[in-house]
Subunit: 368 residues, 2 copies
């Protein structure tokens, strides 16, 4: 339209993956901020602390002792949100009071099949590295590659039983992470969670309507348009999606039509390690702080879905970082966002441009 | 099911208003918390501060001077997310890159109709009281009634033009509120935001399927069952909804089939003031702190929808408070919640029981 300037004028953008909208009001960055400042991100983490239950050799709350691990280390969550064998609730007595089980296995017959081995615990913790003061962007490429291999292994192991295996990392106290030791979690479930159901529907409808997977078509267009591109290599690209909600939200996409982590080739795993290191280094460099975020992987459903055609899916990772203006000023997703619609204060193109322009060498290792 | 104990065993519950699910894992409250503590809620706010732009007589950022108001005071937001007259974006060039205007009026013809008076500014701030150290639960009933009357007035004024008028209050720095002076905001828009579209669809489908409005049927059942009831009076009830996501989330419902704020009778406004004061007093008493939350009103769409049949709607308010364990430990809606599904750590029945058992006299006015 005449006079419309993307970086100045409010508009709404459609998110085809979630079938909803975001309000973009770029001019809001001009507003002064007098609200809450965040606590400084903890930068002085001791490398080894025997009282930290994630450290090699430490004793956890349940009395188990961690091995002296030297790479990744996976164990069952001592305080799981999902337990493998909780009893089932009775079926709700009214359509407005509906509940369902959230546990071990989807197919109820499995529960009476006594010779069957018990399902693996659905809640796991995975340490990335033996050092508590390490983070993914500071790790060497083979170390990151080991994390990726372990993710793929867990996706296979838990995916044999569970329809959804959610791998996610909460990084930083601001994101509810209660332990600075580099780690992620895996919560598998006997149901498709909301976000999985939503992305399954939108990707299925898109393939039917346009004959190509939604995110494959999207990635190809973004690779051409370039204005929202942050980093890319032969196998992967990272964009601030057109419909991003969080200020510096990104979407990590493979160029090939791969639907699950375990299907990545050795080369693709190496190039994934490389692009993750580049993205996360830029994130840390943005405000010269260990950048908080929640991230996680989405891929085709597993368990009882393993035999289905999931060609509408494309494997991808979402990064949701909360910071907006500086290391201590975050975006609050509150009143209007909770009650009406997500709202952002700078355009995705502005965010991508800022991330693109940052150096790929980490501020903590750069020559002074 | 045999052995299933609601307060001990994980399950998922259906939210019929949003058509999604929440994971309830009550046993997680047993887990120790070593993560981030919140800053103490500010309790020493000066009653009058001439440099606070929300105070009577203060000068705002744009040079305008506030009147010496003695009750409520409404003004146009100086840093609005929605402006009345932003130019329109060009129509997206691809189904994966869709945008639309977010501004003044829905019906494009209005824009060329030059004799028409310009639409009211869609972003307003409303002060509840002249004193900065006042909050709704501490206000007298006639003062709260004045707030309700002003809400209804704004709903009429903005609803004449805009299809959605979102009234919301962000209370407390934890909820992104940048000014302790008691106030709320109104953001009106030329589109139905996501949450409005969703609730419009689910309520419409429920009425078709069951012949009664969703929330009217729900409220009647909760009034009988009582286990999730927090407070009630002749015209209103407050419940922790069966599908609550936030630990102490509540839903405020009228007993009569009323669809919009402006349709409330004088008696209903008085009893609304009373039930709000009782609910918010309990909230403050829970952790003996001025309880942070975001709240907002949802009612039938307005503007071009005013002529339509909106009988599937019931007016209601949502309260979304972040605190979980104490004045300084909040619930983080992060990794799993962002990537998969909301998860809560105590049951709605437990939360309702705790709120119910609290005194209705405010801890700050109670005799020592
Ligand atoms: O306009 P305010 O109160 O400064 O801003 C606050 O509420 C807005 C609407 O919920 C949010 O978008 C902002 O992130 C929050 O800080
Ligand atoms: O299990 P953690 O890391 O202690 O807990 C953290 O992540 C969970 C999953 O996103 C959230 O439900 C918690 O609120 C958060 O504090």
């Amino acid at each position: 339209g005449a006079g419309f300037v993307l970086r100045e004028h409010q508009h709404i953008r459609y998110n085809p993956l979630r079938d909803d909208w975001v309000l973009v009001s770029a001019h809001r960055m001009k507003r002064p901020w007098q609200g809450q400042g965040e606590k400084p991100v903890q930068e002085d983490v001791p490398r080894y602390d025997p009282s930290n239950p994630l450290c090699p050799g430490a004793t956890r709350a349940n009395g188990k002792v961690n091995p002296e691990y030297e790479s990744t280390f996976v164990f069952d969550n001592d305080f799981p949100a999902l337990e493998p064998d909780a009893p089932e609730p009775s079926v709700g007595d009214h359509p407005l009071f509906r509940s369902a089980s959230a546990q071990g296995v989807w197919v109820p017959e499995h529960r009476v099949c006594s010779h069957r081995t018990p399902p693996p615990s659905p809640s796991k913790v995975m340490c990335f590295h033996p050092w508590s003061d390490m983070t993914l962007p500071l790790m060497a490429l083979p170390e990151i590659r080991a994390v990726i291999d372990k993710w793929a292994e867990l996706a296979v192991e838990l995916g044999a039983t569970y329809p959804w295996v959610q791998i996610f990392e909460n990084k930083g106290a601001m994101m509810g992470c209660s332990n600075p030791h580099p780690h992620c979690q895996v919560w598998a479930s006997n149901f498709l969670p909301n976000e999985a159901r939503l992305e399954d529907r939108t990707q299925r409808e898109h393939l039917q309507a346009r004959g190509q997977p939604l995110l494959l078509e999207y990635g190809r267009l973004e690779a051409q348009r370039k204005e929202r591109l942050v980093v890319e290599n032969t196998d992967w690209l990272v964009v601030v999606p057109y419909w991003a909600v969080w200020p510096f939200q990104t979407l990590l996409l493979p160029r090939r039509h791969v639907t699950q982590l375990q299907d990545l080739s050795a080369d693709e795993r190496d190039s994934l390690a490389s692009i993750m290191k580049r993205l996360l280094t830029k994130y840390d460099n943005l405000f010269e702080v260990s950048f908080p975020y929640s991230m996680g992987w989405h891929g085709a459903p597993t368990g009882s879905h393993l035999g289905e055609d999931c060609g509408h899916w494309l494997l991808h990772a979402h990064y949701y970082p909360p910071l907006l203006r500086s290391a201590s000023v975050r975006k609050f997703m509150v009143g209007y966002e909770m009650l009406a619609q997500a709202q952002r204060d700078l355009t995705p193109e502005q965010a991508a441009q800022r991330l693109r322009s940052l150096p790929e060498e980490h501020y903590r290792t750069r020559a002074q």
